[in-house]
Protein backbone atom coordinates (compact mmCIF):
# COMPACT_ATOMS: atom_id res chain seq x y z
CA UNK A 1 0.00 0.00 0.00
CA UNK A 2 1.33 3.41 -0.95
CA UNK A 3 1.25 6.43 1.25
CA UNK A 4 -2.20 8.00 1.43
CA UNK A 5 -2.35 11.46 -0.10
CA UNK A 6 -3.60 14.15 2.19
CA UNK A 7 -4.88 16.35 -0.62
CA UNK A 8 -6.59 15.75 -3.95
CA UNK A 9 -7.16 17.86 -7.03
CA UNK A 10 -10.72 18.74 -7.94
CA UNK A 11 -12.04 20.93 -10.74
CA UNK A 12 -14.81 23.42 -10.05
CA UNK A 13 -16.07 25.28 -13.12
CA UNK A 14 -13.06 23.86 -14.88
CA UNK A 15 -10.52 25.35 -12.49
CA UNK A 16 -8.18 23.06 -10.53
CA UNK A 17 -7.94 23.24 -6.74
CA UNK A 18 -5.95 21.27 -4.18
CA UNK A 19 -8.26 20.35 -1.32
CA UNK A 20 -7.95 18.10 1.75
CA UNK A 21 -8.86 14.55 0.72
CA UNK A 22 -11.18 13.99 3.66
CA UNK A 23 -13.68 16.73 2.80
CA UNK A 24 -17.09 16.32 1.23
CA UNK A 25 -17.68 18.12 -2.06
CA UNK A 26 -19.59 20.81 -0.23
CA UNK A 27 -16.92 21.40 2.38
CA UNK A 28 -14.20 21.28 -0.25
CA UNK A 29 -15.95 24.00 -2.21
CA UNK A 30 -16.26 26.12 0.91
CA UNK A 31 -12.60 25.44 1.61
CA UNK A 32 -11.81 26.84 -1.85
CA UNK A 33 -13.82 29.95 -1.05
CA UNK A 34 -17.28 29.31 -2.46
CA UNK A 35 -20.19 30.37 -0.34
CA UNK A 36 -23.46 28.50 -0.77
CA UNK A 37 -26.49 30.73 -0.90
CA UNK A 38 -28.48 28.12 -2.85
CA UNK A 39 -28.00 24.39 -3.23
CA UNK A 40 -27.25 23.67 0.42
CA UNK A 41 -29.61 22.83 3.23
CA UNK A 42 -29.43 20.31 6.03
CA UNK A 43 -25.84 19.25 5.26
CA UNK A 44 -26.78 15.80 6.49
CA UNK A 45 -28.09 14.00 3.43
CA UNK A 46 -31.76 14.50 4.19
CA UNK A 47 -32.98 17.56 2.37
CA UNK A 48 -31.83 16.93 -1.19
CA UNK A 49 -30.79 20.54 -1.85
CA UNK A 50 -27.20 19.89 -2.92
CA UNK A 51 -27.56 17.75 -6.05
CA UNK A 52 -24.25 17.51 -7.86
CA UNK A 53 -22.95 15.99 -11.07
CA UNK A 54 -19.34 15.02 -11.60
CA UNK A 55 -16.99 13.09 -13.84
CA UNK A 56 -13.71 11.60 -12.83
CA UNK A 57 -10.60 12.05 -14.92
CA UNK A 58 -10.22 9.26 -17.44
CA UNK A 59 -13.83 8.05 -17.13
CA UNK A 60 -16.77 8.65 -19.45
CA UNK A 61 -19.26 8.15 -16.65
CA UNK A 62 -21.33 11.11 -15.54
CA UNK A 63 -21.99 10.45 -11.88
CA UNK A 64 -24.41 12.01 -9.43
CA UNK A 65 -24.25 12.66 -5.71
CA UNK A 66 -25.26 14.93 -2.87
CA UNK A 67 -22.45 17.43 -2.28
CA UNK A 68 -22.85 17.19 1.49
CA UNK A 69 -22.41 13.41 1.46
CA UNK A 70 -19.90 12.61 -1.24
CA UNK A 71 -16.24 12.83 -0.27
CA UNK A 72 -13.99 14.37 -2.93
CA UNK A 73 -11.87 12.14 -5.10
CA UNK A 74 -8.82 12.99 -7.10
CA UNK A 75 -9.60 14.33 -10.56
CA UNK A 76 -13.29 15.14 -10.02
CA UNK A 77 -14.90 17.61 -12.40
CA UNK A 78 -17.76 19.07 -10.40
CA UNK A 79 -20.95 20.95 -11.25
CA UNK A 80 -23.53 21.59 -8.58
CA UNK A 81 -27.17 21.62 -9.68
CA UNK A 82 -28.90 23.97 -7.28
CA UNK A 83 -32.29 23.68 -8.95
CA UNK A 84 -34.00 21.24 -11.32
CA UNK A 85 -36.38 23.01 -13.68
CA UNK A 86 -39.56 21.00 -13.17
CA UNK A 87 -43.24 21.68 -12.87
CA UNK A 88 -45.28 20.11 -10.13
CA UNK A 89 -48.83 19.58 -11.32
CA UNK A 90 -51.63 21.13 -9.30
CA UNK A 91 -54.17 18.81 -7.72
CA UNK A 92 -56.42 18.58 -4.72
CA UNK A 93 -55.55 15.29 -3.08
CA UNK A 94 -59.03 15.17 -1.51
CA UNK A 95 -60.61 15.14 -4.93
CA UNK A 96 -58.34 12.52 -6.52
CA UNK A 97 -58.96 8.80 -6.31
CA UNK A 98 -56.30 6.08 -6.43
CA UNK A 99 -57.42 4.85 -9.85
CA UNK A 100 -55.05 2.93 -12.17
CA UNK A 101 -54.75 5.89 -14.55
CA UNK A 102 -54.41 8.74 -12.08
CA UNK A 103 -50.61 9.03 -12.27
CA UNK A 104 -50.74 9.01 -16.07
CA UNK A 105 -53.47 11.61 -15.94
CA UNK A 106 -51.29 14.12 -14.06
CA UNK A 107 -47.91 13.05 -15.43
CA UNK A 108 -48.64 11.51 -18.85
CA UNK A 109 -45.01 11.92 -19.91
CA UNK A 110 -44.10 8.89 -17.77
CA UNK A 111 -45.43 6.90 -20.74
CA UNK A 112 -42.25 8.02 -22.54
CA UNK A 113 -40.01 5.97 -20.22
CA UNK A 114 -37.47 3.99 -22.22
CA UNK A 115 -36.44 1.68 -19.38
CA UNK A 116 -32.86 2.90 -19.87
CA UNK A 117 -32.30 2.94 -16.10
CA UNK A 118 -30.29 6.18 -16.21
CA UNK A 119 -32.45 7.57 -13.36
CA UNK A 120 -31.59 4.62 -11.12
CA UNK A 121 -27.90 5.10 -11.81
CA UNK A 122 -28.19 8.80 -10.94
CA UNK A 123 -30.07 8.37 -7.65
CA UNK A 124 -27.86 9.27 -4.65
CA UNK A 125 -30.31 7.38 -2.43
CA UNK A 126 -29.83 4.17 -4.44
CA UNK A 127 -33.55 3.90 -5.18
CA UNK A 128 -34.86 1.75 -8.01
CA UNK A 129 -36.17 4.81 -9.81
CA UNK A 130 -36.84 3.12 -13.15
CA UNK A 131 -38.81 0.40 -11.41
CA UNK A 132 -41.05 2.92 -9.67
CA UNK A 133 -41.62 4.90 -12.87
CA UNK A 134 -42.60 1.62 -14.50
CA UNK A 135 -44.90 0.78 -11.59
CA UNK A 136 -46.46 4.23 -12.05
CA UNK A 137 -47.23 3.48 -15.70
CA UNK A 138 -49.12 0.38 -14.73
CA UNK A 139 -50.96 2.17 -11.94
CA UNK A 140 -49.35 0.33 -9.03
CA UNK A 141 -49.52 3.23 -6.57
CA UNK A 142 -48.51 1.12 -3.59
CA UNK A 143 -45.35 -0.10 -5.31
CA UNK A 144 -44.39 3.45 -6.33
CA UNK A 145 -44.86 4.59 -2.73
CA UNK A 146 -42.83 1.69 -1.39
CA UNK A 147 -39.94 2.04 -3.84
CA UNK A 148 -39.75 5.82 -3.57
CA UNK A 149 -40.09 6.12 0.20
CA UNK A 150 -36.55 7.42 0.74
CA UNK A 151 -36.67 9.95 -2.11
CA UNK A 152 -35.30 13.41 -1.24
CA UNK A 153 -36.53 15.14 -4.41
CA UNK A 154 -32.96 16.22 -5.18
CA UNK A 155 -33.82 16.30 -8.88
CA UNK A 156 -30.88 14.30 -10.24
CA UNK A 157 -33.10 11.63 -11.85
CA UNK A 158 -35.04 14.34 -13.67
CA UNK A 159 -31.85 16.00 -14.90
CA UNK A 160 -30.61 12.75 -16.39
CA UNK A 161 -33.83 11.32 -17.87
CA UNK A 162 -33.72 11.20 -21.68
CA UNK A 163 -37.52 10.95 -21.76
CA UNK A 164 -37.75 14.23 -19.82
CA UNK A 165 -39.73 12.68 -16.97
CA UNK A 166 -39.65 14.18 -13.47
CA UNK A 167 -39.78 10.95 -11.46
CA UNK A 168 -39.82 12.46 -7.97
CA UNK A 169 -42.95 14.53 -8.58
CA UNK A 170 -44.77 11.42 -9.79
CA UNK A 171 -43.55 9.53 -6.73
CA UNK A 172 -44.73 12.27 -4.40
CA UNK A 173 -48.23 12.11 -5.85
CA UNK A 174 -48.18 8.33 -5.48
CA UNK A 175 -47.11 8.52 -1.84
CA UNK A 176 -49.81 11.08 -1.11
CA UNK A 177 -52.43 8.88 -2.72
CA UNK A 178 -51.09 5.87 -0.89
CA UNK A 179 -51.17 7.58 2.48
CA UNK A 180 -54.63 9.02 1.96
CA UNK A 181 -56.46 6.14 0.33
CA UNK A 182 -54.52 2.89 0.45
CA UNK A 183 -52.43 2.66 3.60
CA UNK A 184 -54.10 0.81 6.42
CA UNK A 185 -55.45 3.21 9.01
CA UNK A 186 -53.59 3.08 12.28
CA UNK A 187 -56.17 2.24 14.93
CA UNK A 188 -53.92 3.42 17.78
CA UNK A 189 -53.46 6.76 16.12
CA UNK A 190 -57.17 7.15 15.55
CA UNK A 191 -57.91 6.27 19.18
CA UNK A 192 -55.33 8.76 20.42
CA UNK A 193 -56.61 11.52 18.14
CA UNK A 194 -60.07 10.94 19.52
CA UNK A 195 -58.73 11.17 23.09
CA UNK A 196 -56.99 14.44 22.29
CA UNK A 197 -60.16 15.80 20.74
CA UNK A 198 -62.15 14.78 23.79
CA UNK A 199 -59.75 16.77 25.95
CA UNK A 200 -58.13 13.88 27.81
CA UNK A 201 -54.76 15.68 27.94
CA UNK A 202 -55.97 19.26 28.33
CA UNK A 203 -55.49 19.29 32.08
CA UNK A 204 -51.94 17.97 31.93
CA UNK A 205 -50.94 20.33 29.16
CA UNK A 206 -52.33 23.25 31.08
CA UNK A 207 -50.24 22.25 34.10
CA UNK A 208 -47.07 21.93 31.99
CA UNK A 209 -47.62 25.30 30.39
CA UNK A 210 -47.80 26.88 33.80
CA UNK A 211 -44.38 25.58 34.94
CA UNK A 212 -41.24 27.71 35.08
CA UNK A 213 -38.14 26.90 33.05
CA UNK A 214 -36.42 25.39 36.12
CA UNK A 215 -39.40 23.25 37.02
CA UNK A 216 -39.62 22.00 33.44
CA UNK A 217 -35.92 21.17 33.42
CA UNK A 218 -36.22 19.23 36.64
CA UNK A 219 -39.22 17.34 35.34
CA UNK A 220 -37.34 16.48 32.17
CA UNK A 221 -34.27 15.22 34.03
CA UNK A 222 -36.41 13.03 36.27
CA UNK A 223 -38.45 11.62 33.44
CA UNK A 224 -39.09 7.93 33.36
CA UNK A 225 -37.83 6.19 30.26
CA UNK A 226 -39.71 3.03 29.57
CA UNK A 227 -38.20 0.68 27.02
Amino acid sequence: MGEERSTVTIYVMGKAYEVPASLTIMKAMEYIGYRFVRGAGCRAGFCGACATLYRKKGSYKLEAALACQKVVEDGMYIATIPFAPAEKRTYDINKLRPTPNVLLEYYPEIARCLSCNTCTKACPQDLQVMDYVQAAIRGDIEEVARLSFDCLSCGLCAMRCPAEIVPYNVAQLARRLYAKYLAKTSEHLMRRLKEIEEGKFDEELKRLKGLSREELKELYDKREIRV
Partner: protein, 297 residues
Amino acid sequence: MRFAYYPGCTLKTTARNYEDSALASARALGMELLELPRWNCCGTVHALAKDDVMHYLAPIRVLVRVEDMNREGILEGNYRLVTLCAMCYNTLKRANGVVKEDPDRMRKLHDIMEREQPYEGKVEVLHLLELLREMGFEKVAERVERPLTGLRVAPYYGCLLLRPRGFGIDNPDSPRVMEDLIRALGGEVVEFPYRARCCGSYHTVERKDIVAEAAYKILSQAREMGAEIVALACPLCSFNLSERQDEVEREFPGFRKIPVVYFTQLMALAFGLGEDVCGLDQNHVDPRPLLRSKSLI
Protein backbone atom coordinates in the same frame (compact mmCIF):
# COMPACT_ATOMS: atom_id res chain seq x y z
CA MET B 1 -46.79 -26.97 -16.95
CA ARG B 2 -45.28 -23.67 -15.80
CA PHE B 3 -44.41 -20.75 -18.06
CA ALA B 4 -42.93 -17.31 -17.59
CA TYR B 5 -45.67 -14.80 -18.23
CA TYR B 6 -45.45 -11.13 -19.23
CA PRO B 7 -48.67 -9.17 -18.57
CA GLY B 8 -47.79 -5.69 -19.86
CA CYS B 9 -49.02 -2.39 -18.42
CA THR B 10 -52.56 -2.28 -19.72
CA LEU B 11 -53.48 -5.72 -18.41
CA LYS B 12 -52.76 -4.30 -14.96
CA THR B 13 -54.92 -1.22 -15.46
CA THR B 14 -57.80 -1.05 -17.92
CA ALA B 15 -57.72 -4.65 -19.17
CA ARG B 16 -57.80 -6.56 -15.91
CA ASN B 17 -60.65 -8.67 -17.26
CA TYR B 18 -58.30 -9.92 -19.99
CA GLU B 19 -55.66 -10.99 -17.48
CA ASP B 20 -58.06 -12.47 -14.91
CA SER B 21 -59.94 -14.54 -17.45
CA ALA B 22 -56.73 -15.67 -19.16
CA LEU B 23 -54.97 -16.78 -15.99
CA ALA B 24 -58.04 -18.66 -14.78
CA SER B 25 -58.56 -20.37 -18.15
CA ALA B 26 -54.91 -21.34 -18.42
CA ARG B 27 -55.08 -22.81 -14.92
CA ALA B 28 -58.16 -24.78 -15.90
CA LEU B 29 -56.09 -26.29 -18.71
CA GLY B 30 -53.23 -27.19 -16.37
CA MET B 31 -50.98 -24.29 -17.32
CA GLU B 32 -49.46 -22.08 -14.68
CA LEU B 33 -48.51 -18.65 -15.93
CA LEU B 34 -45.90 -17.15 -13.61
CA GLU B 35 -45.68 -13.38 -13.83
CA LEU B 36 -42.11 -12.11 -14.13
CA PRO B 37 -41.10 -11.00 -10.60
CA ARG B 38 -39.82 -7.68 -11.97
CA TRP B 39 -40.70 -6.17 -15.31
CA ASN B 40 -41.01 -2.97 -17.30
CA CYS B 41 -43.15 -1.81 -20.18
CA CYS B 42 -42.03 -3.42 -23.46
CA GLY B 43 -42.42 -0.14 -25.34
CA THR B 44 -45.61 -1.29 -27.13
CA VAL B 45 -44.26 -0.63 -30.63
CA HIS B 46 -41.23 -2.21 -32.22
CA ALA B 47 -38.45 0.27 -33.03
CA LEU B 48 -38.23 0.09 -36.81
CA ALA B 49 -35.31 2.46 -37.49
CA LYS B 50 -32.22 0.45 -38.30
CA ASP B 51 -29.86 2.44 -36.09
CA ASP B 52 -32.10 2.38 -33.02
CA VAL B 53 -30.61 0.97 -29.83
CA MET B 54 -32.37 2.94 -27.11
CA HIS B 55 -35.82 1.51 -27.80
CA TYR B 56 -34.53 -2.04 -27.58
CA LEU B 57 -33.60 -1.61 -23.93
CA ALA B 58 -37.15 -2.11 -22.67
CA PRO B 59 -37.96 -5.37 -24.50
CA ILE B 60 -34.52 -6.88 -24.01
CA ARG B 61 -34.61 -6.15 -20.28
CA VAL B 62 -37.85 -8.14 -20.15
CA LEU B 63 -36.17 -11.07 -21.90
CA VAL B 64 -33.24 -10.93 -19.47
CA ARG B 65 -35.77 -11.36 -16.64
CA VAL B 66 -36.90 -14.67 -18.13
CA GLU B 67 -33.31 -15.87 -18.08
CA ASP B 68 -33.08 -14.52 -14.49
CA MET B 69 -36.06 -16.70 -13.51
CA ASN B 70 -34.18 -19.70 -14.77
CA ARG B 71 -30.95 -18.65 -13.05
CA GLU B 72 -32.84 -18.21 -9.79
CA GLY B 73 -34.50 -21.60 -10.09
CA ILE B 74 -38.06 -20.28 -10.39
CA LEU B 75 -38.13 -22.05 -13.73
CA GLU B 76 -36.01 -24.94 -14.82
CA GLY B 77 -34.72 -24.75 -18.35
CA ASN B 78 -37.96 -23.17 -19.54
CA TYR B 79 -37.32 -20.06 -21.59
CA ARG B 80 -40.73 -19.71 -23.18
CA LEU B 81 -42.35 -16.38 -22.41
CA VAL B 82 -46.12 -16.24 -22.72
CA THR B 83 -47.85 -12.98 -23.62
CA LEU B 84 -51.49 -11.95 -23.96
CA CYS B 85 -51.37 -8.43 -25.35
CA ALA B 86 -50.84 -8.42 -29.11
CA MET B 87 -48.57 -5.38 -28.96
CA CYS B 88 -46.38 -6.79 -26.20
CA TYR B 89 -46.20 -10.03 -28.14
CA ASN B 90 -45.10 -8.31 -31.32
CA THR B 91 -42.62 -5.93 -29.68
CA LEU B 92 -40.93 -8.59 -27.58
CA LYS B 93 -40.82 -11.11 -30.40
CA ARG B 94 -39.43 -8.69 -32.96
CA ALA B 95 -36.80 -7.21 -30.64
CA ASN B 96 -35.78 -10.74 -29.72
CA GLY B 97 -35.44 -11.63 -33.39
CA VAL B 98 -33.36 -8.57 -34.18
CA VAL B 99 -30.82 -8.78 -31.38
CA LYS B 100 -30.21 -12.48 -31.91
CA GLU B 101 -29.09 -11.63 -35.45
CA ASP B 102 -27.24 -8.45 -34.59
CA PRO B 103 -24.32 -8.90 -32.16
CA ASP B 104 -23.24 -5.30 -32.63
CA ARG B 105 -26.55 -3.96 -31.39
CA MET B 106 -26.51 -6.53 -28.58
CA ARG B 107 -23.08 -5.31 -27.49
CA LYS B 108 -24.27 -1.71 -27.33
CA LEU B 109 -27.30 -2.80 -25.31
CA HIS B 110 -25.13 -4.70 -22.84
CA ASP B 111 -22.98 -1.58 -22.43
CA ILE B 112 -25.99 0.46 -21.42
CA MET B 113 -27.60 -2.32 -19.35
CA GLU B 114 -24.44 -2.72 -17.32
CA ARG B 115 -26.41 -3.63 -14.20
CA GLU B 116 -28.18 -6.57 -15.85
CA GLN B 117 -26.96 -10.02 -16.70
CA PRO B 118 -26.15 -10.15 -20.41
CA TYR B 119 -28.98 -11.48 -22.58
CA GLU B 120 -28.04 -14.93 -23.81
CA GLY B 121 -30.72 -15.09 -26.47
CA LYS B 122 -32.46 -18.13 -25.02
CA VAL B 123 -35.98 -16.76 -24.79
CA GLU B 124 -38.83 -17.71 -27.10
CA VAL B 125 -41.74 -15.27 -27.16
CA LEU B 126 -45.18 -16.83 -27.51
CA HIS B 127 -48.79 -15.77 -27.49
CA LEU B 128 -51.26 -17.73 -25.38
CA LEU B 129 -53.18 -18.63 -28.55
CA GLU B 130 -50.09 -20.41 -29.89
CA LEU B 131 -49.84 -22.38 -26.70
CA LEU B 132 -53.50 -23.42 -26.94
CA ARG B 133 -53.00 -24.55 -30.54
CA GLU B 134 -49.94 -26.51 -29.49
CA MET B 135 -51.91 -28.18 -26.73
CA GLY B 136 -54.61 -29.09 -29.24
CA PHE B 137 -58.09 -27.61 -29.51
CA GLU B 138 -59.63 -31.01 -28.87
CA LYS B 139 -58.08 -30.78 -25.37
CA VAL B 140 -59.61 -27.34 -24.99
CA ALA B 141 -62.97 -28.73 -26.14
CA GLU B 142 -62.77 -31.48 -23.50
CA ARG B 143 -62.57 -28.86 -20.78
CA VAL B 144 -65.74 -27.07 -21.93
CA GLU B 145 -68.60 -27.26 -19.45
CA ARG B 146 -70.92 -24.66 -20.86
CA PRO B 147 -70.54 -24.59 -24.65
CA LEU B 148 -71.19 -21.26 -26.35
CA THR B 149 -74.06 -22.81 -28.25
CA GLY B 150 -75.75 -20.48 -30.67
CA LEU B 151 -73.37 -17.58 -30.02
CA ARG B 152 -72.21 -16.05 -33.29
CA VAL B 153 -68.68 -14.79 -32.65
CA ALA B 154 -66.51 -12.81 -35.06
CA PRO B 155 -62.82 -13.27 -34.21
CA TYR B 156 -60.82 -10.09 -34.82
CA TYR B 157 -57.03 -10.25 -35.12
CA GLY B 158 -56.02 -6.71 -35.97
CA CYS B 159 -52.46 -6.23 -37.16
CA LEU B 160 -49.76 -7.32 -34.80
CA LEU B 161 -50.83 -10.90 -34.13
CA LEU B 162 -50.42 -11.55 -37.87
CA ARG B 163 -48.02 -9.07 -39.39
CA PRO B 164 -45.34 -8.59 -40.48
CA ARG B 165 -44.90 -11.97 -42.11
CA GLY B 166 -42.70 -14.24 -40.04
CA PHE B 167 -43.63 -12.61 -36.75
CA GLY B 168 -47.31 -13.51 -36.54
CA ILE B 169 -48.99 -16.37 -34.75
CA ASP B 170 -50.75 -17.59 -37.89
CA ASN B 171 -50.97 -17.28 -41.66
CA PRO B 172 -51.53 -13.54 -42.18
CA ASP B 173 -53.81 -14.12 -45.17
CA SER B 174 -56.05 -16.78 -43.70
CA PRO B 175 -55.65 -17.08 -39.96
CA ARG B 176 -57.67 -19.73 -38.17
CA VAL B 177 -56.31 -20.08 -34.65
CA MET B 178 -59.02 -17.95 -33.03
CA GLU B 179 -61.68 -19.50 -35.27
CA ASP B 180 -60.58 -22.98 -34.16
CA LEU B 181 -60.71 -21.89 -30.55
CA ILE B 182 -64.24 -20.46 -30.83
CA ARG B 183 -65.41 -23.70 -32.44
CA ALA B 184 -63.75 -25.73 -29.69
CA LEU B 185 -65.69 -23.63 -27.19
CA GLY B 186 -68.92 -24.57 -28.95
CA GLY B 187 -69.51 -21.16 -30.53
CA GLU B 188 -70.43 -20.32 -34.09
CA VAL B 189 -67.67 -18.60 -36.07
CA VAL B 190 -68.40 -15.60 -38.24
CA GLU B 191 -65.46 -14.96 -40.54
CA PHE B 192 -65.32 -11.45 -41.93
CA PRO B 193 -62.82 -9.84 -44.31
CA TYR B 194 -61.93 -6.95 -41.99
CA ARG B 195 -60.80 -9.25 -39.18
CA ALA B 196 -57.16 -8.24 -39.87
CA ARG B 197 -57.82 -4.59 -40.66
CA CYS B 198 -56.21 -1.95 -38.47
CA CYS B 199 -58.36 -0.50 -35.66
CA GLY B 200 -56.58 2.86 -35.88
CA SER B 201 -54.12 1.92 -33.15
CA TYR B 202 -52.27 4.79 -31.44
CA HIS B 203 -54.25 7.43 -33.35
CA THR B 204 -56.81 7.05 -30.58
CA VAL B 205 -54.91 9.73 -28.63
CA GLU B 206 -54.81 12.56 -31.20
CA ARG B 207 -57.14 11.47 -34.01
CA LYS B 208 -60.24 9.85 -32.53
CA ASP B 209 -61.95 10.44 -35.87
CA ILE B 210 -59.57 8.07 -37.66
CA VAL B 211 -60.25 5.40 -35.06
CA ALA B 212 -64.00 5.95 -35.20
CA GLU B 213 -63.98 5.47 -38.96
CA ALA B 214 -61.90 2.29 -38.69
CA ALA B 215 -64.07 0.92 -35.90
CA TYR B 216 -67.22 1.72 -37.86
CA LYS B 217 -66.01 -0.18 -40.92
CA ILE B 218 -64.79 -3.18 -38.95
CA LEU B 219 -67.76 -3.52 -36.62
CA SER B 220 -70.48 -2.86 -39.13
CA GLN B 221 -68.99 -5.45 -41.45
CA ALA B 222 -68.87 -8.00 -38.63
CA ARG B 223 -72.48 -7.20 -37.86
CA GLU B 224 -73.46 -7.48 -41.55
CA MET B 225 -71.86 -10.91 -41.75
CA GLY B 226 -74.08 -12.02 -38.89
CA ALA B 227 -71.89 -11.59 -35.83
CA GLU B 228 -73.43 -10.86 -32.45
CA ILE B 229 -70.18 -10.36 -30.59
CA VAL B 230 -66.52 -9.70 -31.48
CA ALA B 231 -63.63 -11.54 -29.80
CA LEU B 232 -60.09 -10.15 -29.80
CA ALA B 233 -56.68 -10.35 -28.15
CA CYS B 234 -55.33 -6.81 -27.79
CA PRO B 235 -56.20 -4.17 -25.16
CA LEU B 236 -55.66 -1.33 -27.65
CA CYS B 237 -57.90 -2.93 -30.29
CA SER B 238 -60.37 -3.49 -27.47
CA PHE B 239 -60.36 0.16 -26.45
CA ASN B 240 -60.69 1.34 -30.04
CA LEU B 241 -63.45 -1.11 -30.90
CA SER B 242 -65.43 -0.80 -27.66
CA GLU B 243 -64.90 2.52 -25.87
CA ARG B 244 -64.69 4.34 -29.19
CA GLN B 245 -68.12 2.99 -30.19
CA ASP B 246 -69.50 6.06 -28.40
CA GLU B 247 -67.66 8.15 -31.00
CA VAL B 248 -68.82 5.88 -33.83
CA GLU B 249 -72.41 6.24 -32.71
CA ARG B 250 -72.09 10.03 -32.78
CA GLU B 251 -70.42 10.16 -36.18
CA PHE B 252 -72.27 7.42 -38.03
CA PRO B 253 -76.01 7.58 -37.48
CA GLY B 254 -77.69 4.20 -37.69
CA PHE B 255 -74.71 2.37 -36.23
CA ARG B 256 -75.73 -0.33 -33.76
CA LYS B 257 -73.38 -1.06 -30.90
CA ILE B 258 -71.95 -4.55 -30.66
CA PRO B 259 -70.24 -6.13 -27.65
CA VAL B 260 -66.49 -6.74 -27.90
CA VAL B 261 -64.78 -9.21 -25.55
CA TYR B 262 -61.39 -10.84 -25.07
CA PHE B 263 -61.17 -14.40 -26.37
CA THR B 264 -60.15 -15.44 -22.87
CA GLN B 265 -63.44 -14.17 -21.45
CA LEU B 266 -65.32 -16.52 -23.77
CA MET B 267 -62.96 -19.32 -22.81
CA ALA B 268 -63.48 -18.78 -19.08
CA LEU B 269 -67.22 -18.61 -19.66
CA ALA B 270 -67.25 -21.88 -21.61
CA PHE B 271 -65.07 -23.55 -18.99
CA GLY B 272 -67.72 -22.63 -16.43
CA LEU B 273 -65.32 -20.56 -14.34
CA GLY B 274 -68.01 -18.10 -13.39
CA GLU B 275 -68.96 -14.58 -14.31
CA ASP B 276 -66.67 -12.98 -11.72
CA VAL B 277 -63.50 -14.31 -13.31
CA CYS B 278 -64.70 -13.12 -16.72
CA GLY B 279 -65.08 -9.53 -15.56
CA LEU B 280 -67.88 -8.93 -18.04
CA ASP B 281 -68.95 -5.84 -16.11
CA GLN B 282 -65.73 -4.14 -17.25
CA ASN B 283 -66.51 -4.37 -20.97
CA HIS B 284 -67.58 -1.00 -22.29
CA VAL B 285 -70.40 -2.36 -24.46
CA ASP B 286 -72.12 -4.70 -22.04
CA PRO B 287 -72.09 -8.28 -23.41
CA ARG B 288 -74.30 -9.60 -20.61
CA PRO B 289 -77.73 -8.98 -22.14
CA LEU B 290 -76.66 -10.97 -25.22
CA LEU B 291 -75.09 -13.75 -23.16
CA ARG B 292 -78.17 -13.90 -20.96
CA SER B 293 -80.42 -14.16 -24.00
CA LYS B 294 -78.39 -17.22 -25.03
CA SER B 295 -78.58 -18.62 -21.49
CA LEU B 296 -74.79 -18.50 -21.25
CA ILE B 297 -74.79 -16.61 -17.97
